[in-house]
Amino acid sequence: MTSITLRVGARDVAARLDSNGHVHVDGRGYRVTAVSPGIYLVADGGQRWRVAVAEAGGARWVAVDGQVAVIELGGASSRSSGRRSGHAGAMAAPMPATVVKILVAPGQEIAEGATVLVLEAMKMELPIRAPRAGVVKAVRCAQGELVQPGVSLVELE
């Protein structure tokens, strides 16, 4: 019998493989059969699901009936499942993007949630909002500039 911990969002789920080849999740047994590379048929006696699975950097992407989740292995003790866009409040680009509009200037007082920048990536506009109320200390980008993810673009005092 072998066990594995899956981290789904903020939740840890234990999965267990029994000697009959069933996978137990949340106290329920499932039979898993490989259909084609990456596609599995999962059956629990009454219902069947076709599930796609792919591995990427320690995480497993799964898709079933149009839903998708990214599952990390090893449970809570492993590295956190930080979102690609960083913490929600950061005034940084979530991906390489071009600065389209700068809506604030140093010294300006802004409210929480105010749009401070509009970026563009992949033909889409991305508004960047203030994580809290405050006074703008510095604007670290220029209109038309290509900015990289994670770099702080606007700072508050």
Partner: protein, 499 residues
């Protein structure tokens, strides 16, 4: 007939055009940026020419490089696809001047439709309805109120200069005119240094209904009925369908005639689309010219499936000087088609576009299902181009059969490695408003968050079981296929398991 065609585009539309060429015996030349050196459209063509680095400006928007590529590869025609240079007058003109067939309208027609003001005047002259409006010489409050009354409430009071919604005021009753005019003038003056105002009828909860048109060099012009594209988020179309639930046969006929009149007025040739705003539904509805897209549309397969035509074949024939392959009388709609645009964007994060590898990419298949795509498993969605991964187009005998088929097909569309809008598309397709066919262009902007809240939150535990059973690729890549063939359980090779 065109002998060798350069496709000045990438992705699914380039693949689509190359396939049509193979069927017609036309040689193909793909072009690519460094980011696309091994993209499916490059591999599908008979030859391929590098344009430059990834940014569109230096590659797919680089007109001179494209013309050079055409010349050096001996192409006698260029298909611009959609986006990129497809609606740039100067590019079409440069092709004309270089003696290369531009598979699209004459540059003069692109020019005429490229200017909003010019196009509006052209349409008025051709008897095509435009949104009623007046720009009175007399800018007094009284004159503007009178104009508003003539246009009919509710109206928009708008500054003549500028744009972006600045100074725009909704006026629902005559009593509100005075205040709105004063306010709008102040804001317009402040923003643009010009307080001139005009009045336009406010079209509330409009639908976006567009008509496919096609004209040849011999004076023939037809329409191929409508597509409804009201399901859009911030002007980005998400689901398109034909027929539109809002059109009665009489209205459909009137809109088709108006679209043909628009094409004729523009001196149009080849495939084009006349977009209308539709107010109301059925015989009493009113429609207004919005703009003309002087190119093939992303959503052209919807028309292909419902009308039973191949628009790209027709484009290539007409560009070669052949007459239209259809008469208006030979064209009819049959059944229903729905297109879902599958985007790399995360509905859970405000539809943030996503870039990443396509770790697993499997398209649905089956009767009535068509997928137009230009990606493969193992490929990548990069930040350089738009985030559309694929178009799923389904056909069925009735709208409801089509809708259900689209749902089943989306559930079988497996994309891992980047988040997509599939969960949102599924929620939308199952939404009562979509089932009713009662969605206007503002629906998603008004109620998108509520729709998003309906997306299922938790993945079923069965998916976790598969994730747990899935072994690390290193351990099983060579055996998975055999397992599936022999029907052996995958458990003997659970590389990811620890005791």
């Amino acid at each position: 007939m065109i002998k060798r065609l350069l496709i000045a585009n990438r992705g699914e539309i380039a693949v689509r055009v190359i396939r049509a060429c193979r069927e017609l015996g036309i040689d193909t030349v793909a072009v690519y940026s460094d980011a696309d050196a091994h993209a499916p459209h490059v591999l599908a063509a008979d030859r391929a020419v590098r344009l430059g680095p990834a940014p569109p400006r230096e590659s797919y928007l680089n007109g001179p490089a494209l013309l050079d590529a055409a010349r050096s590869s001996g192409a006698d025609a260029i298909h611009p696809g959609y986006g990129f240079l497809s609606e740039r007058t100067h590019f079409a003109r440069a092709c004309e001047e270089a003696g290369i067939i531009f598979v699209g309208p004459p540059s003069t027609a692109i020019d005429r439709m490229g200017s909003k003001v010019g196009a509006r005047q052209l349409m008025e002259g051709a008897g095509v309805p435009v949104v009623p409006g007046e720009a009175p010489e007399d800018q007094s409050e009284w004159a503007l109120a009178a104009a508003a009354a003539r246009v009919g409430f509710p109206v928009l009071v708008k500054p003549s200069a500028g744009g972006g919604g600045i100074g725009m005021k909704v006026v629902r009753e005559r009593d509100e005119v005075a205040e709105a005019v004063a306010q709008a003038r102040r804001e317009a003056q402040a923003a643009f240094g010009d307080g001139t105002l005009y009045v336009e009828r406010l079209v509330e909860r409009p639908r976006h209904v567009e008509v496919q048109v096609f004209a040849d060099a011999h004076g023939n012009a037809v329409h191929l009925f409508e597509r409804e594209c009201s399901v859009q988020r911030r002007h980005q179309k998400m689901i398109e369908e034909s027929p539109s639930e809002a059109l009665s046969p009489a209205l459909r006929a009137r809109m088709g005639e108006a679209a043909v009149a628009a094409a004729r007025a523009a001196g149009y040739q080849n495939a084009g689309t006349v977009e209308f705003l539709l107010e109301g539904a059925g015989d009493t509805a009113r429609f207004y010219f919005l703009e003309m897209n002087t190119r093939l549309q992303v959503e052209h397969p919807v028309t292909e499936m419902v009308v039973g035509v191949d628009l790209v074949h027709a484009q290539l024939r007409v560009a070669s000087g052949e007459p239209l392959p259809w008469s208006q009388a030979s064209l009819a709609q049959r059944g229903h088609a729905i297109e879902c645009r599958v985007y790399a964007e995360d509905p859970g994060q405000g539809f943030l576009p996503q870039a990443g590898p396509l770790l697993l990419y499997r398209e649905p298949r089956g009767p009535g299902i068509r997928v137009d795509s230009g990606v493969v498993e193992g490929g990548e969605i990069t930040v350089h181009y738009d985030p559309m991964i694929a178009k799923l187009i389904v056909w069925g005998e009735t709208r409801e059969a089509t809708r259900r088929r689209a749902v089943e097909a989306l559930r079988e569309c497996y994309i891992l490695g980047v988040r997509t809008n599939i969960p949102f598309l599924l929620t939308l397709l199952e939404h009562p408003r979509f089932i009713e066919g009662a969605i206007d262009t503002g629906f998603l902007d008004r109620e998108g968050d509520a729709v998003r809240a309906l997306m299922p939150a938790d993945i079923p535990p069965a998916a976790l079981a598969a994730a747990a059973a899935h072994a690390a690729p290193r351990a099983t890549a060579t055996t998975t296929r055999r397992e599936s063939a022999g029907g052996i359980d995958p458990f003997h090779s659970l590389g990811g398991w620890r005791g």
